[in-house]
């Protein structure tokens, strides 16, 4: 009944392939303006962001508009949430206004899953706590597939604060479904051993060089100080041991793709030389975000 998009974990490989393939139709050709589509004319999408976000929210807004839908964004600081209204009441209120879909970001893991049991309106998860960020994984996969023909068999290193990363979890599920081999790397307190069993094809290491050797893709994660509840790793040593620098990139395959979900902290998890290099796909990721979100919105809304 509630056919939203809550996470990658519950999608099949075929469903993911459908979204990725449709997203290609929405990519603007190089050096040309994007096309407008009419498939969602008359539909309305509410973006509810209980947690600060610029790029994801903007990306969803643009995606909805390019499909002809109306879109409204609400952020927590300017809404009744800051007046103490509960999550259920806020969403019931929004639901009574009958939008066709709700795009939601929330600091609590599972908040959209919890709501989707009570709300008949489809919910698209734009990031829930430290759990999933499905459209990020989809746009990452689209970006990889723009540069290489298949994800199967690729060696993908995901590096940083794995424990608190919803980007990591969604990517792990997606890459695993496509048969990639995944290396997770980070400081031990931020790399729970249980991560190796949440999907197949995962290995763990605390040594960045080991993670990067022969990698086809390097995904750097932002150091999320706001999600760490204690000092898990000395901040001053982070860049030295887990910051991506040119000498690391040389250990990877020659055509390695360097990715980052943004916003990047230059000099903390990635050096400027790498971020701005030929190998960096960071801006392609942003661009693909719109195409992928268009495909997701169409899938959820165009019935």
């Amino acid at each position: 009944m509630n056919r939203g998009l809550l996470g990658i974990e519950e999608l099949s490989r075929t469903e993911i392939e459908q979204i990725l393939s449709r997203a290609r139709d929405f990519q603007p050709p190089p050096h040309q303006p994007f096309k407008r589509f009419d498939v969602l004319r008359g539909k309305s999408v509410v973006n509810v962001f209980f947690e600060a976000s610029t790029r994801t929210r903007t990306s969803f807004e643009i995606a909805a508009r390019r499909l002809g839908a109306e879109t409204i964004s609400i952020t927590a600081s300017g809404s009744s949430v800051s007046k103490g209204e509960s999550l259920v009441d806020t969403l019931n209120t929004l639901g009574a206004m009958r939008p066709d879909a709700i795009v939601m970001r929330h600091a609590a893991s599972g908040a959209p899953h919890f709501l989707s049991r009570y709300l008949p309106i489809p919910i698209i998860n734009a990031g829930d706590g430290t759990h999933e960020h499905p459209t990020q994984a989809l746009l990452d996969a689209r970006t990889i597939l723009d540069r290489t023909s298949s994800i199967e068999g690729l060696r993908v290193a995901i590096i940083g604060d794995i424990a608190h990363s919803r980007v990591a979890r969604s990517n792990i599920h997606l890459l695993s479904k496509f048969g990639a081999s995944i290396v997770l790397c980070g400081p031990a307190p931020l790399l729970p051993r249980e991560m190796s069993s949440i999907a197949t094809g995962i290995e763990l290491t605390n040594d960045m060089r080991k993670a990067i050797i022969n990698a086809d893709v390097i995904m750097m994660l932002r150091v999320q100080l706001e999600r760490q509840h204690e000092a898990s790793f000395p901040a001053g040593e982070y860049f030295q041991f887990f910051g991506l620098r040119p000498e690391h990139v040389q250990l990877a395959k020659p055509n390695v793709i360097v990715m980052h979900p943004g916003p990047i902290n230059r000099g903390r998890e990635i050096s400027s030389e790498v971020a701005d290099s030929q190998r960096s796909a960071i801006l392609n990721q942003v661009e693909n975000g719109i195409a992928v979100r268009m495909a997701v919105l169409e899938r959820v809304l165009a019935a």
């Binding site: 974990e9 509960s86 999550l87 259920v88 929330h106 609590a108 599972g110 919890f114 979890r169 249980e194």
Partner: protein, 426 residues
């Protein structure tokens, strides 16, 4: 009429090694006699044919929320839920507002129970003032006012020196100490059992070790102090082993388990549904097997519900914001019959002992028996009738349970307190 004969039931009283079809005669709220073919002329009769007749069940771990949280539960509603679950006595934890850390609060609870409760209510006093873990509370005067044990349930005493002093005081007063074992530094921020599932769901974990280290510490200190020490709602396989170790050493250490910990594992959770959120959390299937084995082999002495009512609006939130705890009184017997008796893990007399003689012994209550002269608290239950738990018809004020809609085989039929039928299945 103050004479009652419960006729033709299968009377199971582990305290007297009774297991036979016979009658129980009650007069003026006191058990007179258990035997066959008792003449019931001039008495009220309860026909228990086909049913089990046991000493009244005792739940040594409940939260009645009064004073202070009457929107969740009151002594009156909690007692009615207890009766509906077959319990004739409950022991209520001190985490009220104000905390039951002095004789005035104890007396208030005793008085509320005397006026409003249809079952016996025994307060448990706080170990430390406001359960803050620093200064000892007024333990001796609370004992005079009626507490049967001390505990800082939910806010365990972290300071080893303070808990040692409290153990010495408890020992001198012959009061059992009950500990909710949780190293608060290790569990800080956690919402569910730390394991593969919490990692997958992006929820912070409560490691098994947070329970284990406090059980270990306290057993060592119990040996030093000689206190009668009781582990509340044990959930970890390691804790079961350590309690077994303490018992093998001859220490006066006992333990309880809550039904949800031998019925459910973390993998049974509906993800992000707060009706599965409690402390200690649902652990993995190896822990479920270990606590079940602990019940079978006698390491665990009692089943206690940790009945923890919370109102709907507090449980209808983001998982990480919801309070811990679930209802327990009305489902405990049904769950125990299903998981322990129908699954042929333990015998019926053993199951009855876990609800009667054993908890009475743990807290030195003069109940849990049908010996002549004992208070006539009697639980009558069936083994095979099918029923479905509908929490919307619960006697509790709250609705937080993962067992709504559960189909049970066997459960409470009638609850008799001091010779009076206070509840009957409708």
């Amino acid at each position: 009429m103050n004479k009652l004969v419960v006729k033709n039931g299968r009377v199971i009283d582990p305290s007297q090694n009774i297991d036979c079809v016979c009658d129980v005669a009650v007069e003026e709220g006191i058990v007179q006699h258990v035997g066959p073919e008792i003449n019931a002329t001039g008495c009220d009769v309860f026909d228990a044919s086909g049913l089990v007749v046991a000493p009244g069940f005792i739940d040594i771990h409940v939260h009645l929320r009064e004073p202070g949280f009457e929107h969740s539960e009151t002594v009156e509603t909690g007692a009615r839920a207890a009766a509906a679950g077959g319990f004739t006595s409950v022991c209520c934890m001190p985490n009220t507002k104000p905390v039951n850390d002095n004789a005035t609060v104890t007396s208030y609870i005793v008085e509320r129970a005397r006026r409003n409760a249809i079952v016996n209510v025994y307060p448990i006093g706080a170990i430390t003032k406001s359960s803050a873990g620093e200064e000892l509370s007024a333990i001796a005067s609370m004992k005079a006012a009626g507490i049967v044990a001390i505990s800082d349930d939910g806010k365990p005493v972290m300071n080893s020196r303070v808990i040692r002093r409290a153990m010495e005081v408890a020992r001198s007063l012959d009061l059992p100490m009950i500990q909710h074992c949780e190293d608060l530094h290790l569990s800080a921020g956690g919402d569910m059992h730390e394991g593969q599932l919490s990692t997958r769901l992006g929820l912070r974990g409560i490691p098994r070790a947070s329970e284990d280290v406090m059980v270990a510490r306290d057993i060592l200190l119990a040996e030093v102090t000689g206190v009668r020490y009781h582990v509340a709602h044990l959930s970890s396989k390691n804790s079961v082993q350590m309690v077994a170790y303490a018992k093998a050493k001859g220490l006066p250490v006992t333990a309880e388990v809550s039904p949800h910990h031998f019925v459910l594992a973390d993998s049974d959770m509906l993800p992000y549904d707060s009706n599965y959120k409690m402390k200690p959390p649902l652990r993995d299937t190896s822990d479920v097997a270990a606590v079940t084995e602990g019940l079978v082999n006698g390491t665990i002495d009692a089943i206690a519900t940790d009945h923890a009512p919370h109102p709907g609006d507090e449980k209808m939130q983001e998982f990480e914001r919801c309070p811990f705890g679930i209802l327990g009184l009305e489902t405990a017997l049904g769950l125990s019959l299903e998981s322990l008796y129908h699954n042929q893990k333990i015998t019926l007399p053993h199951l009855v002992a876990l609800f009667t003689q054993n908890p009475a012994r743990v807290l030195s209550l003069d109940r849990g028996t049908l010996k002549p002269g004992a208070p006539a608290d009697i639980t009558v239950f069936g083994l095979n009738h099918n029923w479905t738990y509908d929490v919307n018809r619960s006697a509790s004020k709250s609705r937080n349970t993962p067992f709504h809609g559960y189909k049970f085989r066997g459960g409470p039929v009638a609850t008799i307190v001091a010779g009076k039928i206070v509840w009957q299945a409708g």
